[in-house]
């Protein structure tokens, strides 16, 4: 299902990635046959509800999945022409924080409370770029300034608990970008922040991304965030990709009943309704996935065939794909 893009090769290519967790209670198929690409300079949004496997996918790109109980049972991850899954641990360490960086949801617990912000930023710089302490400190202050933290030369010596939530997230971003990575994975970067701060941080991300020509994989459950800054979207459900394509296509004319369910369940300010449009039913238990399309018990377009076999991704047009046998009638 390669997208033929005459302009450039994808920076990151994920093919048929499957990740399972083997626990005492059973096997969890967290991610199953997931494929997507990220091109240089673009923002790919990975969207879905909690538990759909999007965070696991993000972590797997840096091979941060805890190996027991997790296991990458299948698939390929190719970055800049190299297969990440075949790298030695030492080589992978050179990729992390350097070519690919990641920022996480909870800035308070994601920063080490006993080291200063400066120490934590400088660590990556010293490790990957070989600068000495003085030069690293200058770069760190520069980065803090870039992410619009006031008085960076003072903040650099602060501890995480002394900063507000928004500031900590900016500090995390500074840390992740300090070595000019080609790809940034942002796992729910704004979810734990206040709404007004959310907008600021997103603006910041957009700006820096444009400046640095960096690619971003933005993982979130919030469609509003995706609408703000993503170029392309992948919608995930129960560990699979259900719809995939450019943002105009998906937001304009979606072709998958799950995507439709997601979109319509967001209440519109201008609409007056008696009840919210919730998708009927519940997210399936990842240890007990039934045969056929994983969404069929909740789908308004369901027919008998949906129960039999899991549908492949159908090409809607160009680079827009949908995993639904009735995509033509959809939405």
């Amino acid at each position: 299902m390669k997208i033929e893009n005459s302009k450039n090769r994808p920076l990151l290519e994920v093919r048929d990635l499957s990740i399972h967790f083997f626990t005492e209670e059973g096997v969890i198929q967290a991610v199953q046959n997931v494929s997507f690409e990220i091109y240089p300079g673009e923002i790919l949004g990975l969207v879905g509800e909690s538990g759909c496997g999007k965070s696991v996918t993000g972590l797997s790109l840096l091979r941060l999945i805890p190996i027991p109980p997790g296991r990458i049972v299948n698939g390929d991850i190719t970055f800049d022409g190299r297969s990440l899954l075949n790298l030695e641990e030492k080589e992978m360490e050179r990729v992390r924080g350097n070519d690919i960086s990641m920022i996480f949801q909870e800035p308070m617990t994601s920063l080490n409370p006993v080291f200063t912000i400066g120490d934590q930023i400088m660590e990556a710089i010293i490790l990957h770029q070989g600068l000495d302490k003085k030069a690293a400190r200058e770069r760190a202050i520069e980065m803090l300034d870039r992410v619009r933290i006031p008085s960076p030369d003072k903040t650099i010596d602060s501890y995480p608990h002394q900063l507000s939530g928004g500031m900590r997230q900016r500090a995390m971003i500074a840390m992740a970008l300090s070595c000019q990575p080609k790809l940034l994975i942002a796992d729910e970067p704004t979810t734990a922040l206040d709404v007004t701060i959310q907008a600021q941080v997103l603006e910041l991300l957009k700006e820096i991304q444009r400046e640095m020509g960096m690619s971003v994989m933005l993982i979130t459950h919030d469609l509003g965030v995706i609408a703000e800054i993503a170029d392309r979207v992948a919608v995930m459900y129960a560990g699979r990709i259900f719809e995939y394509g450019p943002i105009e296509a998906i937001f304009g004319k979606m072709r998958n009943p799950y995507t439709r369910g997601l979109m319509t369940s967001i209440p519109q300010l201008t609409e007056k309704k008696d009840r919210l449009n919730a998708i009927p039913g519940q997210v399936p238990d990842p240890m007990d996935l039934r045969v056929g399309c994983k969404f069929h018990p909740r789908c308004y377009l369901m027919i008998e065939e949906c129960k039999k076999e899991e549908p492949p991704l159908f090409q809607v047009n160009g680079d827009h794909f949908s995993r639904c046998i009735r995509w033509k009638e959809c939405c």
Partner: protein, 282 residues
């Protein structure tokens, strides 16, 4: 609550060491209970001609300086150790739960006062305190049980207090309070059953340390008085003959070790089985 018990047993069975501990404890209980039948000799019967004999078929664990059979003496000694352990811990749990519940439920100045008291008590080296008080009151089994009980409740009270502090804020408690249910009823019928899990763990571990304390006291001469046999005082008598009769030293200590170990294993196993975070790995 039922499913809680089921999951608990499921995880407990998987911890082999804990199951081993439980088995050993049951065996010890059996032995202690049947001491009368199992003992080949009267533990008090002296026979000077047989003094200080090494272990043999006649005397499985040898004899002491008065010709008494060590095996029989140790069988009866197990009864002392176990009963001291259980009664002392019973007392300590009772006090600890009471103090912790009051502190956790009523909070504020009662809590501060009680916790100051707990902190102060914790500063005393418990063994020395116990030794001093038992020496004052006279070394009888009853006194030992009471003193150990009264000096080791502090840890339990902290646990119980913590549980009460959090459970007090929960919906079911708030609802009961709003309905006007009497305080004592809320404490005993609503909160306490939920707060008991860590108490079982501490209780088991405390039995282990109570047995060690009793052994130490008997060793120093302030525990069970001879001629009544206690593992500790057999060791004391063995001091004088340490180089000639190693069995007087090795066996009682081994018995203490195994018994205390089994309680510790059980206690740690209970703690792991009750802690939801420690599960789920393959």
């Amino acid at each position: 609550m039922e499913s809680q018990k089921k999951t608990f047993w499921h995880y407990f069975k998987k911890r082999r060491m804990a199951v081993g501990g439980l088995t050993l404890i049951l065996i010890t209980f059996l032995i202690a209970g049947l001491a009368f039948f199992l003992a080949p000799y009267d533990p008090g019967k002296t026979e000077v001609s047989m003094k200080l004999k090494a272990p043999s078929f006649q005397h499985l664990l040898g004899t002491d300086q008065l010709g008494r059979d060590i095996f029989s003496r140790m069988l009866y000694g197990s009864r002392i150790s176990l009963s001291v352990g259980f009664v002392a811990v019973g007392i300590s749990i009772f006090i600890g739960v009471l103090v912790g519940a009051l502190a956790g439920y009523y909070g504020r100045w009662i809590d501060s006062l009680l916790m100051r008291f707990v902190d102060t008590m914790l500063c005393f080296p418990s063994f020395f305190l116990i030794l001093a008080v038992v020496a004052l009151m006279g070394p009888s089994i009853f006194n030992i049980m009471v003193v150990i009980g009264v000096t080791s409740w502090m840890g339990t009270s902290r646990f119980v207090r913590a549980e009460f502090l959090s459970l007090r804020e929960r919906d079911f408690t708030q609802a009961a309070m709003a309905l006007g249910v009497k305080d004592s009823r809320i404490i005993f019928r609503h909160i306490l059953p939920n707060a008991l899990a860590p108490v079982f763990v501490t209780a088991t571990l405390k039995v282990a340390s109570a047995i060690l304390i009793e052994a130490g006291l008997s060793f120093l001469g302030f525990g069970v008085q001879p001629p009544a046999p206690s593992w500790g005082n057999i060791l004391t008598e063995g001091r004088t003959y340490i180089f000639d009769a190693w069995w007087l030293t090795v066996f009682p200590g081994l018995a203490i070790l195994i018994t205390v170990l089994s309680f510790n294993l059980l206690g740690e196993g209970l703690r792991d089985a009750l802690d939801p975070r420690l599960r789920g790995r393959k």
